[in-house]
Symmetry: C2
Subunit: 279 residues, 2 copies
Amino acid sequence: MTIENLSSNKSFGGWHKQYRHRSEVLNCDMRFAIYLPPQAAGGQKVPALYWLSGLTCTDENFMQKAGAQQMAAQLGMALVAPDTSPRGETVADDEAYDLGQGAGFYVNATQAPWNRHYRMYDYVLDELPHLVESVFPVATVRSIAGHSMGGHGALVLALRNPQRYRSVSAFSPIANPVNCPWGKKAFAAYLGEDTAEWAQYDTSLLMRDADDRVPALVDQGEADNFLVEQLKPEALEAAAAASDYPLQLRRHEGYDHSYYFIASFIGEHLRFHAKYLGL
Amino acid sequence: MTIENLSSNKSFGGWHKQYRHRSEVLNCDMRFAIYLPPQAAGGQKVPALYWLSGLTCTDENFMQKAGAQQMAAQLGMALVAPDTSPRGETVADDEAYDLGQGAGFYVNATQAPWNRHYRMYDYVLDELPHLVESVFPVATVRSIAGHSMGGHGALVLALRNPQRYRSVSAFSPIANPVNCPWGKKAFAAYLGEDTAEWAQYDTSLLMRDADDRVPALVDQGEADNFLVEQLKPEALEAAAAASDYPLQLRRHEGYDHSYYFIASFIGEHLRFHAKYLGL
């Protein structure tokens, strides 16, 4: 398992670093970023929050724009940000921003041509944390969060793997993808036309049937352009009510879909996760 | 005086907004960004920190990457970020990243073809604050800060106009441009070959002769790739020692030239300015 350091920037006394590695799961080279807080400097293992970004993003958007390092340094929490899809010239793609590279939707694709590379669910759940925990002073104590498509991914991963994550949070998640244009388009391409296959990647359907429960925090801006057509937090609220799920969903007047919203509340998300990560 | 709103994002309870306006000084349309903290919501006037960015930047780099809004919202301080040069198809340019558009160096150019538009010194000193103070609930109480080329600009503007700014700070400023490649190239193009003309835009020369004194804070990363060849903080330290100038210059082990460095210390810079802005 080789891993190549691409950049290093000191940040709030810790280090932001980008790496490239060969992903066996995705069958291509992948880049990810990690923030190691000052507490990790002596080799002491710190718990990690995995962050999944939204459509068109790479590992850079969150690390550059969310301002999360300040609180991560204060708490002693690592941040890990993967890319949003497999990448490369040999990887299937689509001209649209919401399918193909930059739009992996955190599923394991079953349909050609996508099934050769698009297995972001397995990559985020298994390969990436195992790599991170073998190379860095990062504990196997994990939480997960994300934005928009990444909020969907974080919630799906936590709901299906409650033993793997201590807590989950999301900003503006695609909360009911089987019922919105982004989700229908991506799931039809990646998973095929049988909508029974889609349910395993739908947060609202999963939350309705959840047994083990990962504490969940969701923030949604009320001035978000995608709120009504694509995000559908009301479906998530209904699911949580039906299963008495420990979901805290907050609506924020005036906030939109941008990183200005995320930055405004990321500190609270990190504090939320810190409680469950033992910090 | 018309001004066109291009975007609005709620951020930490206040608002980040981008505007386009016709600049008479620069003879072209210009974009700038402003952050209005929650304290300005009722029309109460708040003091402002003007931020000047570095080579290749626009108004967006600082607003998206510095994470300054959190502290600005806490303190009740507006942030104003102009572009780094005149812009447009009819504006002279150069293929290099360090001359022409994106590289105005905050001077008033005297040489053709640059003298038709490149008057960033007058724009930042007069036209922009007058516009901002006439349109927004922003007081005429000003401080100024910047990064790299913008750190040079902020220090020059404050040193030459101590009655206009309460305080000045810089990250990684080009502290002695008459003696570094970036400065020599830009000043020769914009100001001509007579180096006597350059002195009015050289922080280290100005600080050596300063009478009125604006309190100054400078942060410099010791792992900055441009430190030795381009930035020359030692010239600024020598000038401050010679004139007993109230300069606090701090060197930070391990930090580089990026916004990861700026984000790590921008909160301290805002607190520094707040003291002098009466906050």
